[in-house]
Protein backbone atom coordinates (compact mmCIF):
# COMPACT_ATOMS: atom_id res chain seq x y z
CA UNK A 1 0.00 0.00 0.00
CA UNK A 2 2.92 2.33 -0.66
CA UNK A 3 0.82 3.84 -3.40
CA UNK A 4 -1.75 5.01 -0.95
CA UNK A 5 0.65 7.06 1.09
CA UNK A 6 2.15 8.53 -2.05
CA UNK A 7 -1.28 9.45 -3.31
CA UNK A 8 -2.33 10.90 0.01
CA UNK A 9 0.71 13.12 0.26
CA UNK A 10 0.00 14.58 -3.14
CA UNK A 11 -2.93 16.38 -1.46
CA UNK A 12 -5.63 16.44 -4.09
CA UNK A 13 -6.34 20.06 -4.88
CA UNK A 14 -9.27 19.37 -7.10
CA UNK A 15 -11.11 16.72 -5.16
CA UNK A 16 -13.33 18.01 -2.42
CA UNK A 17 -13.89 15.00 -0.21
CA UNK A 18 -10.80 14.91 1.90
CA UNK A 19 -10.24 11.24 2.57
CA UNK A 20 -10.41 10.54 6.28
CA UNK A 21 -8.08 7.75 7.30
CA UNK A 22 -10.81 5.33 8.31
CA UNK A 23 -12.81 5.69 5.15
CA UNK A 24 -9.86 5.22 2.86
CA UNK A 25 -8.80 2.05 4.54
CA UNK A 26 -12.31 0.70 4.05
CA UNK A 27 -12.21 1.17 0.28
CA UNK A 28 -9.86 -0.48 -2.14
CA UNK A 29 -7.27 2.00 -3.33
CA UNK A 30 -8.55 2.43 -6.86
CA UNK A 31 -11.86 3.78 -5.61
CA UNK A 32 -10.30 6.61 -3.64
CA UNK A 33 -10.67 10.14 -5.04
CA UNK A 34 -6.93 10.23 -5.69
CA UNK A 35 -7.06 7.08 -7.78
CA UNK A 36 -10.02 8.41 -9.73
CA UNK A 37 -8.20 11.65 -10.33
CA UNK A 38 -5.18 9.73 -11.63
CA UNK A 39 -7.36 7.61 -13.86
CA UNK A 40 -9.12 10.69 -15.19
CA UNK A 41 -5.80 12.48 -15.72
CA UNK A 42 -4.05 9.69 -17.55
CA UNK A 43 -7.12 9.15 -19.70
CA UNK A 44 -6.96 12.79 -20.73
CA UNK A 45 -3.26 12.47 -21.43
CA UNK A 46 -3.55 9.25 -23.41
CA UNK A 47 -4.51 10.64 -26.85
CA UNK A 48 -1.63 13.11 -26.98
CA UNK A 49 0.91 10.64 -25.58
CA UNK A 50 -0.25 7.93 -27.98
CA UNK A 51 -0.17 10.21 -31.01
CA UNK A 52 3.28 11.51 -30.22
CA UNK A 53 4.62 8.04 -29.40
CA UNK A 54 3.19 6.50 -32.55
CA UNK A 55 4.28 9.22 -34.92
CA UNK A 56 7.45 10.58 -33.33
CA UNK A 57 8.78 7.95 -30.94
CA UNK A 58 8.28 4.87 -33.04
CA UNK A 59 9.33 6.52 -36.32
CA UNK A 60 12.49 7.69 -34.60
CA UNK A 61 13.30 4.13 -33.58
CA UNK A 62 12.20 2.96 -37.01
CA UNK A 63 14.69 5.34 -38.60
CA UNK A 64 17.45 3.60 -36.63
CA UNK A 65 16.26 0.34 -38.12
CA UNK A 66 15.94 1.77 -41.63
CA UNK A 67 19.43 3.21 -41.41
CA UNK A 68 20.69 -0.32 -40.86
CA UNK A 69 18.75 -1.79 -43.77
CA UNK A 70 18.83 -1.54 -47.53
CA UNK A 71 15.24 -0.27 -47.66
CA UNK A 72 14.39 1.52 -50.89
CA UNK A 73 11.33 3.22 -52.35
CA UNK A 74 9.19 0.66 -54.12
CA UNK A 75 11.08 -2.26 -52.64
CA UNK A 76 8.94 -3.81 -49.93
CA UNK A 77 11.63 -6.17 -48.64
CA UNK A 78 14.42 -4.61 -46.63
CA UNK A 79 17.44 -6.60 -45.62
CA UNK A 80 19.50 -5.90 -42.54
CA UNK A 81 22.87 -4.52 -43.59
CA UNK A 82 24.31 -3.43 -40.25
CA UNK A 83 26.36 -0.28 -40.31
CA UNK A 84 26.98 -0.43 -44.06
CA UNK A 85 24.95 2.72 -44.71
CA UNK A 86 26.90 4.71 -42.15
CA UNK A 87 30.16 3.39 -43.57
CA UNK A 88 29.07 4.28 -47.09
CA UNK A 89 28.29 7.80 -45.94
CA UNK A 90 31.66 8.15 -44.25
CA UNK A 91 33.44 7.01 -47.40
CA UNK A 92 31.63 9.54 -49.53
CA UNK A 93 33.39 12.87 -50.15
CA UNK A 94 30.06 14.65 -50.57
CA UNK A 95 29.15 13.65 -47.05
CA UNK A 96 32.17 15.48 -45.62
CA UNK A 97 31.37 18.54 -47.71
CA UNK A 98 27.83 18.44 -46.40
CA UNK A 99 28.98 17.99 -42.82
CA UNK A 100 31.46 20.84 -43.07
CA UNK A 101 28.91 23.13 -44.72
CA UNK A 102 26.34 22.24 -42.08
CA UNK A 103 28.75 23.22 -39.32
CA UNK A 104 29.90 26.41 -41.04
CA UNK A 105 26.32 27.32 -41.84
CA UNK A 106 24.98 26.73 -38.34
CA UNK A 107 27.88 28.32 -36.50
CA UNK A 108 28.36 31.29 -38.82
CA UNK A 109 24.68 32.09 -39.07
CA UNK A 110 24.27 31.53 -35.32
CA UNK A 111 26.96 34.09 -34.47
CA UNK A 112 25.47 36.65 -36.85
CA UNK A 113 21.99 36.12 -35.45
CA UNK A 114 23.35 36.53 -31.94
CA UNK A 115 25.11 39.81 -32.75
CA UNK A 116 22.27 41.32 -34.75
CA UNK A 117 19.66 40.06 -32.31
CA UNK A 118 21.48 41.57 -29.33
CA UNK A 119 21.86 44.93 -31.03
CA UNK A 120 18.23 44.95 -32.04
CA UNK A 121 17.02 43.87 -28.60
CA UNK A 122 18.80 46.79 -26.93
CA UNK A 123 17.41 49.20 -29.53
CA UNK A 124 13.90 47.96 -28.82
CA UNK A 125 14.30 47.71 -25.06
CA UNK A 126 13.32 51.20 -23.95
CA UNK A 127 9.99 52.69 -24.89
CA UNK A 128 9.84 55.10 -27.81
CA UNK A 129 7.17 56.44 -30.12
CA UNK A 130 6.09 53.78 -32.61
CA UNK A 131 7.84 50.92 -30.84
CA UNK A 132 5.05 48.40 -31.33
CA UNK A 133 4.76 49.25 -35.01
CA UNK A 134 8.50 49.01 -35.60
CA UNK A 135 8.62 45.69 -33.79
CA UNK A 136 5.76 44.32 -35.89
CA UNK A 137 7.61 45.25 -39.08
CA UNK A 138 10.95 43.89 -37.93
CA UNK A 139 9.60 40.45 -37.06
CA UNK A 140 8.14 40.00 -40.56
CA UNK A 141 11.03 37.79 -41.75
CA UNK A 142 10.38 35.33 -38.95
CA UNK A 143 6.63 35.22 -39.40
CA UNK A 144 6.47 34.73 -43.17
CA UNK A 145 6.20 31.06 -44.14
CA UNK A 146 9.73 30.04 -44.93
CA UNK A 147 9.08 28.71 -48.43
CA UNK A 148 7.41 32.00 -49.33
CA UNK A 149 10.24 34.26 -48.27
CA UNK A 150 12.91 32.02 -49.75
CA UNK A 151 11.19 32.40 -53.13
CA UNK A 152 11.45 36.16 -52.74
CA UNK A 153 15.16 35.81 -52.06
CA UNK A 154 15.60 33.55 -55.04
CA UNK A 155 14.27 36.35 -57.20
CA UNK A 156 16.49 38.91 -55.47
CA UNK A 157 19.50 36.65 -56.03
CA UNK A 158 18.62 36.22 -59.71
CA UNK A 159 21.73 35.84 -61.82
CA UNK A 160 20.78 38.60 -64.26
CA UNK A 161 18.02 40.72 -62.73
CA UNK A 162 19.11 40.76 -59.10
CA UNK A 163 17.90 43.96 -57.51
CA UNK A 164 20.95 44.00 -55.27
CA UNK A 165 23.25 43.91 -58.27
CA UNK A 166 21.27 46.76 -59.76
CA UNK A 167 21.89 48.78 -56.60
CA UNK A 168 25.58 47.88 -56.42
CA UNK A 169 26.01 48.72 -60.09
CA UNK A 170 24.31 52.09 -59.69
CA UNK A 171 26.56 52.86 -56.75
CA UNK A 172 29.49 52.09 -59.01
CA UNK A 173 30.70 49.21 -56.87
CA UNK A 174 30.44 46.57 -59.57
CA UNK A 175 30.48 46.53 -63.35
CA UNK A 176 27.53 45.73 -65.58
CA UNK A 177 25.97 42.33 -66.26
CA UNK A 178 28.55 40.01 -67.72
CA UNK A 179 31.54 41.84 -66.30
CA UNK A 180 33.85 39.72 -64.11
CA UNK A 181 32.89 41.46 -60.85
CA UNK A 182 29.15 41.02 -61.43
CA UNK A 183 28.29 38.63 -58.57
CA UNK A 184 26.20 35.60 -59.41
CA UNK A 185 25.01 35.05 -55.87
CA UNK A 186 23.75 31.51 -56.15
CA UNK A 187 26.14 30.41 -58.88
CA UNK A 188 29.55 31.03 -57.34
CA UNK A 189 30.59 28.53 -54.65
CA UNK A 190 31.71 30.95 -51.91
CA UNK A 191 28.95 33.45 -52.56
CA UNK A 192 26.32 30.72 -52.69
CA UNK A 193 27.14 29.52 -49.19
CA UNK A 194 27.15 33.10 -47.93
CA UNK A 195 23.82 33.74 -49.62
CA UNK A 196 22.04 30.80 -48.06
CA UNK A 197 23.51 31.72 -44.67
CA UNK A 198 22.37 35.29 -45.18
CA UNK A 199 18.79 34.17 -45.76
CA UNK A 200 18.93 32.09 -42.59
CA UNK A 201 20.24 35.10 -40.65
CA UNK A 202 17.59 37.32 -42.20
CA UNK A 203 14.89 34.94 -41.07
CA UNK A 204 16.35 34.28 -37.62
CA UNK A 205 17.57 37.61 -36.28
CA UNK A 206 14.12 38.86 -35.29
CA UNK A 207 13.63 35.66 -33.30
CA UNK A 208 16.93 36.16 -31.45
CA UNK A 209 16.00 39.77 -30.75
CA UNK A 210 12.53 38.99 -29.44
CA UNK A 211 13.75 36.14 -27.23
CA UNK A 212 16.49 38.34 -25.83
CA UNK A 213 14.01 41.15 -25.33
CA UNK A 214 11.74 38.82 -23.39
CA UNK A 215 14.73 37.99 -21.20
CA UNK A 216 15.82 41.58 -20.73
CA UNK A 217 12.38 42.77 -19.72
CA UNK A 218 12.24 40.02 -17.11
CA UNK A 219 15.25 41.52 -15.26
CA UNK A 220 13.93 43.76 -12.47
CA UNK A 221 15.11 47.36 -13.10
CA UNK A 222 16.05 47.75 -9.41
CA UNK A 223 18.84 45.23 -9.83
CA UNK A 224 20.32 47.15 -12.74
CA UNK A 225 19.96 50.39 -10.80
CA UNK A 226 21.71 48.80 -7.85
CA UNK A 227 24.59 47.75 -10.11
CA UNK A 228 24.76 51.28 -11.49
CA UNK A 229 24.91 52.71 -7.98
CA UNK A 230 27.73 50.30 -7.24
CA UNK A 231 29.61 51.83 -10.15
CA UNK A 232 29.31 49.10 -12.78
CA UNK A 233 29.55 50.45 -16.32
CA UNK A 234 27.37 49.24 -19.18
CA UNK A 235 29.67 46.40 -20.23
CA UNK A 236 30.09 45.20 -16.64
CA UNK A 237 26.35 45.42 -16.00
CA UNK A 238 25.72 43.41 -19.14
CA UNK A 239 28.28 40.71 -18.45
CA UNK A 240 28.03 40.40 -14.69
CA UNK A 241 24.37 41.15 -14.01
CA UNK A 242 22.19 40.83 -17.06
CA UNK A 243 23.72 37.82 -18.82
CA UNK A 244 23.73 35.57 -15.73
CA UNK A 245 20.13 36.52 -15.00
CA UNK A 246 18.87 35.84 -18.49
CA UNK A 247 21.14 32.85 -19.13
CA UNK A 248 18.32 30.28 -19.05
CA UNK A 249 16.29 32.12 -21.64
CA UNK A 250 19.39 32.63 -23.79
CA UNK A 251 20.10 28.91 -23.66
CA UNK A 252 16.55 28.02 -24.61
CA UNK A 253 16.48 30.53 -27.46
CA UNK A 254 19.84 29.38 -28.79
CA UNK A 255 18.86 25.74 -28.50
CA UNK A 256 15.69 26.31 -30.49
CA UNK A 257 17.41 28.33 -33.13
CA UNK A 258 20.16 25.73 -33.48
CA UNK A 259 17.65 22.93 -33.94
CA UNK A 260 15.71 24.93 -36.53
CA UNK A 261 18.85 25.92 -38.42
CA UNK A 262 20.45 22.47 -38.38
CA UNK A 263 17.36 20.75 -39.61
CA UNK A 264 16.07 23.29 -42.10
CA UNK A 265 16.14 22.11 -45.66
CA UNK A 266 13.95 24.65 -47.45
CA UNK A 267 16.43 27.53 -47.78
CA UNK A 268 19.15 25.49 -49.43
CA UNK A 269 16.77 23.23 -51.32
CA UNK A 270 14.92 26.13 -52.93
CA UNK A 271 17.87 28.45 -53.50
CA UNK A 272 20.63 26.15 -54.73
CA UNK A 273 19.67 22.54 -54.04
CA UNK A 274 23.19 22.03 -52.76
CA UNK A 275 24.93 23.49 -55.77
CA UNK A 276 26.98 24.83 -57.39
CA UNK A 277 29.03 21.67 -57.34
CA UNK A 278 28.19 20.79 -53.74
CA UNK A 279 29.22 24.20 -52.39
CA UNK A 280 26.03 24.54 -50.36
CA UNK A 281 25.29 20.86 -49.80
CA UNK A 282 24.18 20.34 -46.19
CA UNK A 283 23.15 17.17 -44.38
CA UNK A 284 19.40 17.81 -44.78
CA UNK A 285 19.62 18.25 -48.56
CA UNK A 286 21.92 15.26 -48.86
CA UNK A 287 19.52 13.14 -46.80
CA UNK A 288 16.54 14.26 -48.85
CA UNK A 289 18.20 13.75 -52.20
CA UNK A 290 19.53 10.36 -51.19
CA UNK A 291 16.50 9.09 -49.31
CA UNK A 292 13.55 10.39 -51.28
CA UNK A 293 14.80 11.50 -54.68
CA UNK A 294 17.18 8.61 -55.25
CA UNK A 295 14.88 6.34 -53.26
CA UNK A 296 17.57 4.86 -51.01
CA UNK A 297 15.60 5.14 -47.77
CA UNK A 298 18.20 3.34 -45.70
CA UNK A 299 21.05 5.51 -46.92
CA UNK A 300 18.99 8.67 -46.42
CA UNK A 301 17.97 7.67 -42.91
CA UNK A 302 21.61 7.02 -42.03
CA UNK A 303 22.65 10.48 -43.27
CA UNK A 304 19.88 12.27 -41.41
CA UNK A 305 20.83 10.40 -38.24
CA UNK A 306 24.26 12.00 -38.41
CA UNK A 307 22.42 15.19 -37.50
CA UNK A 308 21.39 13.72 -34.19
CA UNK A 309 24.74 14.07 -32.39
CA UNK A 310 24.79 17.69 -33.59
CA UNK A 311 21.31 18.27 -32.21
CA UNK A 312 22.00 16.53 -28.94
CA UNK A 313 23.85 19.38 -27.16
CA UNK A 314 20.96 21.74 -27.88
CA UNK A 315 18.44 19.21 -26.61
CA UNK A 316 20.46 18.54 -23.46
CA UNK A 317 20.80 22.24 -22.71
CA UNK A 318 17.08 22.64 -23.10
CA UNK A 319 16.29 19.62 -20.98
CA UNK A 320 18.51 20.85 -18.16
CA UNK A 321 17.04 24.32 -18.25
CA UNK A 322 13.52 22.93 -18.17
CA UNK A 323 14.21 20.54 -15.33
CA UNK A 324 16.07 23.00 -13.17
CA UNK A 325 12.86 24.99 -13.01
CA UNK A 326 11.24 22.38 -10.80
CA UNK A 327 13.44 22.90 -7.84
Amino acid sequence: MADLSAGGSASPGTSLSVPVGGRVRGLSWWRTPTARRYLFGYTLLAPAVLYVSLLVGIPFLFSLYLAMSDAAVGDPVARFVGIANFQAALENATFYTALRNTLVFTLGAGIMKGLLGTTLAFLLLRPFVGRKFVRALIVIPFTLPIAVSVLGWKWMFDSQFSVMNWGLHRLGLIGGYGSPDWPIWLGQPGLALLSVMFVNVWRGFPFSAIVLLAGLTSVPPEIIEAAKVDGANFIQRFRKVIVPMIAPILFVGTAFDTVFTLSDLSIVYLLTNGGPDGATEILPTLAYNTGIKAGALGRGAAISLFLFPLLLPAIIVLLRTLRRRQY
Binding site: F40, A48, T119, F256
Partner: protein, 290 residues
Protein backbone atom coordinates in the same frame (compact mmCIF):
# COMPACT_ATOMS: atom_id res chain seq x y z
CA UNK B 1 18.47 58.02 -10.61
CA UNK B 2 22.01 58.93 -11.42
CA UNK B 3 22.16 62.51 -12.55
CA UNK B 4 24.69 63.02 -15.29
CA UNK B 5 26.14 66.50 -15.40
CA UNK B 6 26.24 67.68 -18.97
CA UNK B 7 28.41 70.62 -19.95
CA UNK B 8 25.36 72.26 -21.49
CA UNK B 9 22.33 70.87 -19.71
CA UNK B 10 19.63 70.00 -22.20
CA UNK B 11 15.94 70.22 -21.54
CA UNK B 12 14.25 66.83 -21.00
CA UNK B 13 12.38 67.39 -24.24
CA UNK B 14 15.53 67.91 -26.25
CA UNK B 15 17.05 64.84 -24.67
CA UNK B 16 14.00 62.78 -25.60
CA UNK B 17 14.20 63.96 -29.20
CA UNK B 18 17.88 63.11 -29.31
CA UNK B 19 17.22 59.66 -27.86
CA UNK B 20 14.48 58.99 -30.41
CA UNK B 21 16.68 60.11 -33.27
CA UNK B 22 19.42 57.73 -32.15
CA UNK B 23 17.04 54.81 -31.78
CA UNK B 24 15.44 55.44 -35.17
CA UNK B 25 18.84 55.74 -36.80
CA UNK B 26 19.89 52.43 -35.25
CA UNK B 27 16.67 50.71 -36.26
CA UNK B 28 16.60 52.01 -39.82
CA UNK B 29 18.95 49.40 -41.35
CA UNK B 30 17.07 46.59 -39.59
CA UNK B 31 13.77 47.91 -40.89
CA UNK B 32 15.05 48.13 -44.45
CA UNK B 33 16.46 44.61 -44.35
CA UNK B 34 13.29 43.19 -42.80
CA UNK B 35 10.75 44.94 -45.00
CA UNK B 36 12.45 45.41 -48.35
CA UNK B 37 12.07 41.80 -49.55
CA UNK B 38 8.33 41.97 -48.95
CA UNK B 39 8.06 45.27 -50.77
CA UNK B 40 10.10 43.83 -53.60
CA UNK B 41 7.92 40.74 -53.83
CA UNK B 42 4.78 42.88 -53.84
CA UNK B 43 5.98 45.18 -56.59
CA UNK B 44 7.17 42.21 -58.64
CA UNK B 45 3.75 40.61 -58.33
CA UNK B 46 2.09 43.73 -59.69
CA UNK B 47 4.49 44.49 -62.54
CA UNK B 48 4.00 43.56 -66.16
CA UNK B 49 6.60 41.13 -67.43
CA UNK B 50 8.55 43.56 -69.69
CA UNK B 51 8.78 45.95 -66.73
CA UNK B 52 10.37 43.20 -64.65
CA UNK B 53 13.37 42.60 -66.83
CA UNK B 54 14.80 46.09 -67.24
CA UNK B 55 18.06 47.06 -65.68
CA UNK B 56 18.26 50.54 -67.19
CA UNK B 57 15.58 52.17 -65.03
CA UNK B 58 15.05 52.47 -61.27
CA UNK B 59 13.30 49.17 -60.50
CA UNK B 60 11.58 50.31 -57.31
CA UNK B 61 8.56 51.70 -59.10
CA UNK B 62 6.33 51.00 -62.11
CA UNK B 63 7.33 52.03 -65.60
CA UNK B 64 4.36 50.29 -67.14
CA UNK B 65 0.96 50.41 -65.44
CA UNK B 66 0.55 47.85 -62.64
CA UNK B 67 -1.41 44.74 -63.51
CA UNK B 68 -3.42 41.95 -61.87
CA UNK B 69 -2.44 39.61 -64.67
CA UNK B 70 -0.11 37.58 -62.45
CA UNK B 71 -2.94 36.90 -60.02
CA UNK B 72 -5.29 36.02 -62.86
CA UNK B 73 -2.72 33.58 -64.16
CA UNK B 74 -2.55 31.89 -60.75
CA UNK B 75 -6.26 31.31 -60.56
CA UNK B 76 -6.87 30.37 -64.17
CA UNK B 77 -3.75 28.56 -65.33
CA UNK B 78 -2.55 26.81 -62.20
CA UNK B 79 -4.00 24.76 -59.36
CA UNK B 80 -3.69 27.72 -56.98
CA UNK B 81 -7.36 27.52 -55.98
CA UNK B 82 -6.94 23.83 -55.13
CA UNK B 83 -3.81 24.61 -53.12
CA UNK B 84 -5.68 27.18 -51.05
CA UNK B 85 -8.52 24.73 -50.45
CA UNK B 86 -6.01 22.00 -49.52
CA UNK B 87 -4.23 24.35 -47.13
CA UNK B 88 -7.51 25.32 -45.48
CA UNK B 89 -8.61 21.70 -45.18
CA UNK B 90 -5.24 20.63 -43.77
CA UNK B 91 -5.31 23.47 -41.26
CA UNK B 92 -8.84 22.60 -40.22
CA UNK B 93 -8.10 18.93 -39.56
CA UNK B 94 -4.75 19.59 -37.95
CA UNK B 95 -6.37 22.14 -35.62
CA UNK B 96 -9.13 19.69 -34.77
CA UNK B 97 -6.70 16.87 -33.98
CA UNK B 98 -4.50 19.22 -32.00
CA UNK B 99 -7.36 20.60 -29.92
CA UNK B 100 -8.80 17.16 -29.20
CA UNK B 101 -5.48 15.85 -27.93
CA UNK B 102 -3.56 18.86 -26.60
CA UNK B 103 -6.39 20.44 -24.60
CA UNK B 104 -7.03 17.39 -22.40
CA UNK B 105 -3.32 16.70 -22.13
CA UNK B 106 -2.43 20.28 -21.21
CA UNK B 107 -5.23 20.33 -18.65
CA UNK B 108 -4.19 17.02 -17.09
CA UNK B 109 -0.56 18.09 -16.85
CA UNK B 110 -1.36 21.48 -15.37
CA UNK B 111 -4.18 20.71 -12.98
CA UNK B 112 -4.50 17.13 -11.86
CA UNK B 113 -1.25 16.77 -9.90
CA UNK B 114 -0.42 13.48 -11.54
CA UNK B 115 2.74 11.66 -10.58
CA UNK B 116 5.41 12.22 -13.27
CA UNK B 117 3.36 15.08 -14.75
CA UNK B 118 6.39 17.35 -14.98
CA UNK B 119 8.53 14.74 -16.73
CA UNK B 120 5.71 13.72 -19.03
CA UNK B 121 5.21 17.35 -19.99
CA UNK B 122 8.90 17.80 -20.71
CA UNK B 123 8.91 14.53 -22.64
CA UNK B 124 6.04 15.64 -24.86
CA UNK B 125 7.66 19.00 -25.39
CA UNK B 126 10.99 17.45 -26.33
CA UNK B 127 9.36 15.64 -29.22
CA UNK B 128 8.81 19.11 -30.68
CA UNK B 129 12.58 19.24 -30.98
CA UNK B 130 12.94 16.02 -32.95
CA UNK B 131 13.18 17.64 -36.35
CA UNK B 132 11.32 16.70 -39.49
CA UNK B 133 14.61 15.98 -41.21
CA UNK B 134 15.13 12.95 -38.94
CA UNK B 135 11.52 11.80 -39.08
CA UNK B 136 10.57 12.29 -42.71
CA UNK B 137 12.06 9.05 -44.01
CA UNK B 138 10.43 6.71 -41.48
CA UNK B 139 7.23 8.75 -41.76
CA UNK B 140 7.33 8.22 -45.52
CA UNK B 141 6.94 4.52 -44.72
CA UNK B 142 4.10 5.27 -42.31
CA UNK B 143 2.37 7.39 -44.93
CA UNK B 144 2.65 4.69 -47.57
CA UNK B 145 1.44 2.04 -45.12
CA UNK B 146 -1.64 4.18 -44.52
CA UNK B 147 -1.94 4.48 -48.31
CA UNK B 148 -1.94 8.24 -48.08
CA UNK B 149 1.02 9.02 -50.29
CA UNK B 150 0.31 11.80 -52.78
CA UNK B 151 -2.69 13.01 -50.85
CA UNK B 152 -2.86 16.04 -48.57
CA UNK B 153 -4.34 13.74 -45.94
CA UNK B 154 -0.79 12.52 -45.32
CA UNK B 155 -0.01 16.01 -44.00
CA UNK B 156 -3.05 15.91 -41.72
CA UNK B 157 -1.54 12.80 -40.15
CA UNK B 158 1.98 14.20 -39.92
CA UNK B 159 1.60 17.85 -38.90
CA UNK B 160 0.20 17.04 -35.44
CA UNK B 161 3.61 15.56 -34.62
CA UNK B 162 4.78 19.11 -34.05
CA UNK B 163 1.53 20.94 -33.25
CA UNK B 164 0.54 18.55 -30.43
CA UNK B 165 3.81 18.92 -28.47
CA UNK B 166 3.88 22.68 -28.89
CA UNK B 167 0.22 23.26 -28.10
CA UNK B 168 0.21 20.85 -25.15
CA UNK B 169 3.04 22.83 -23.64
CA UNK B 170 1.35 26.13 -24.43
CA UNK B 171 -1.99 25.05 -22.99
CA UNK B 172 -0.32 23.58 -19.91
CA UNK B 173 1.00 27.06 -19.16
CA UNK B 174 -2.37 28.50 -19.93
CA UNK B 175 -4.38 26.19 -17.68
CA UNK B 176 -2.05 26.94 -14.79
CA UNK B 177 -3.34 30.50 -14.85
CA UNK B 178 -7.02 29.52 -14.56
CA UNK B 179 -8.01 29.81 -10.89
CA UNK B 180 -8.70 26.55 -9.07
CA UNK B 181 -11.72 28.06 -7.33
CA UNK B 182 -13.95 27.99 -10.37
CA UNK B 183 -13.56 24.24 -10.73
CA UNK B 184 -14.14 23.71 -7.05
CA UNK B 185 -17.28 25.80 -7.22
CA UNK B 186 -18.50 23.75 -10.15
CA UNK B 187 -17.85 20.52 -8.30
CA UNK B 188 -19.67 21.80 -5.26
CA UNK B 189 -22.59 22.37 -7.61
CA UNK B 190 -22.47 18.71 -8.52
CA UNK B 191 -20.34 18.59 -11.66
CA UNK B 192 -17.90 15.70 -12.01
CA UNK B 193 -14.31 16.38 -12.99
CA UNK B 194 -15.13 16.05 -16.67
CA UNK B 195 -18.19 18.24 -16.23
CA UNK B 196 -16.14 20.90 -14.48
CA UNK B 197 -13.62 20.81 -17.31
CA UNK B 198 -16.18 21.05 -20.09
CA UNK B 199 -18.68 23.41 -18.56
CA UNK B 200 -16.51 25.73 -16.52
CA UNK B 201 -12.84 25.56 -17.43
CA UNK B 202 -13.07 25.38 -21.23
CA UNK B 203 -15.48 28.31 -21.59
CA UNK B 204 -13.09 30.62 -19.73
CA UNK B 205 -10.10 29.20 -21.61
CA UNK B 206 -11.14 30.23 -25.11
CA UNK B 207 -8.14 32.58 -25.54
CA UNK B 208 -5.86 29.59 -25.00
CA UNK B 209 -7.89 27.46 -27.40
CA UNK B 210 -7.79 30.13 -30.09
CA UNK B 211 -4.04 30.42 -29.61
CA UNK B 212 -3.72 26.66 -30.10
CA UNK B 213 -5.71 26.85 -33.34
CA UNK B 214 -3.61 29.76 -34.59
CA UNK B 215 -0.41 27.84 -33.98
CA UNK B 216 -1.76 24.70 -35.59
CA UNK B 217 -2.26 26.88 -38.64
CA UNK B 218 0.92 28.97 -38.61
CA UNK B 219 3.25 26.09 -37.71
CA UNK B 220 1.70 23.98 -40.47
CA UNK B 221 2.36 26.83 -42.89
CA UNK B 222 6.04 26.85 -41.94
CA UNK B 223 6.48 23.27 -43.09
CA UNK B 224 8.07 22.56 -46.41
CA UNK B 225 9.90 19.27 -46.05
CA UNK B 226 6.97 16.99 -45.23
CA UNK B 227 4.89 18.41 -48.06
CA UNK B 228 7.81 18.06 -50.45
CA UNK B 229 8.49 14.48 -49.42
CA UNK B 230 4.93 13.16 -49.28
CA UNK B 231 2.86 15.05 -51.85
CA UNK B 232 3.88 15.15 -55.48
CA UNK B 233 0.55 15.39 -57.30
CA UNK B 234 -0.05 18.99 -58.40
CA UNK B 235 -3.62 19.41 -57.26
CA UNK B 236 -2.98 17.85 -53.84
CA UNK B 237 -0.28 20.29 -52.75
CA UNK B 238 -0.60 22.93 -50.05
CA UNK B 239 0.14 26.52 -51.09
CA UNK B 240 3.81 26.90 -50.09
CA UNK B 241 4.80 23.71 -51.88
CA UNK B 242 2.63 24.39 -54.89
CA UNK B 243 4.00 27.87 -55.41
CA UNK B 244 7.57 26.72 -54.94
CA UNK B 245 7.41 23.73 -57.25
CA UNK B 246 4.70 24.29 -59.86
CA UNK B 247 5.43 27.79 -61.10
CA UNK B 248 8.80 26.89 -62.51
CA UNK B 249 8.92 25.21 -65.89
CA UNK B 250 12.37 23.83 -66.43
CA UNK B 251 14.54 26.91 -66.26
CA UNK B 252 11.73 29.38 -66.72
CA UNK B 253 10.56 31.16 -63.59
CA UNK B 254 7.22 32.91 -63.64
CA UNK B 255 8.49 35.50 -61.20
CA UNK B 256 5.39 37.68 -61.22
CA UNK B 257 3.03 34.80 -60.46
CA UNK B 258 5.52 33.23 -58.07
CA UNK B 259 5.62 36.39 -55.98
CA UNK B 260 1.86 36.88 -56.27
CA UNK B 261 1.16 33.34 -55.11
CA UNK B 262 3.70 33.53 -52.32
CA UNK B 263 2.48 36.83 -50.92
CA UNK B 264 -1.23 36.14 -51.24
CA UNK B 265 -0.85 33.47 -48.58
CA UNK B 266 2.31 34.68 -46.89
CA UNK B 267 1.03 38.09 -45.85
CA UNK B 268 -2.09 36.90 -44.01
CA UNK B 269 -0.04 34.23 -42.26
CA UNK B 270 2.59 36.78 -41.28
CA UNK B 271 -0.04 39.15 -39.88
CA UNK B 272 -1.75 36.46 -37.82
CA UNK B 273 1.57 35.10 -36.58
CA UNK B 274 2.70 38.62 -35.76
CA UNK B 275 -0.34 39.16 -33.51
CA UNK B 276 0.39 35.94 -31.63
CA UNK B 277 4.17 36.11 -31.68
CA UNK B 278 4.50 36.95 -28.00
CA UNK B 279 2.53 33.84 -27.15
CA UNK B 280 4.87 31.77 -29.30
CA UNK B 281 7.91 33.21 -27.54
CA UNK B 282 6.32 32.69 -24.13
CA UNK B 283 5.46 29.16 -25.21
CA UNK B 284 9.03 28.19 -25.91
CA UNK B 285 10.85 30.33 -23.34
CA UNK B 286 8.19 30.44 -20.64
CA UNK B 287 9.89 27.50 -19.05
CA UNK B 288 13.05 29.54 -18.61
CA UNK B 289 11.50 32.67 -17.16
CA UNK B 290 10.41 32.17 -13.65
Amino acid sequence: MAVVAHPAPRSPRAREIRRHALIYAGLFPFLVIAVFPVFWMAITALKQDPDLYRMDVVPFWFHLPPTWRNFDFLFHNTFYKDWIINTMAISFWVSAITLLTAVPAGYALARLRLPFAENLGIGIFLTYLVPAIILFIPLARVVSTLDLQDSWWSLVVVYPTFTIPFCTWLLMGFFKTVPFEIEEAAMVDGCGQLGALCRVVLPVSWPGLITAVIFSFTLSMQDFLYALAFVSISEQKPVPLGVATELIRGDVFFWGSLMAGALLVGVPVAIIYNLFLDKFITGITGAAIK
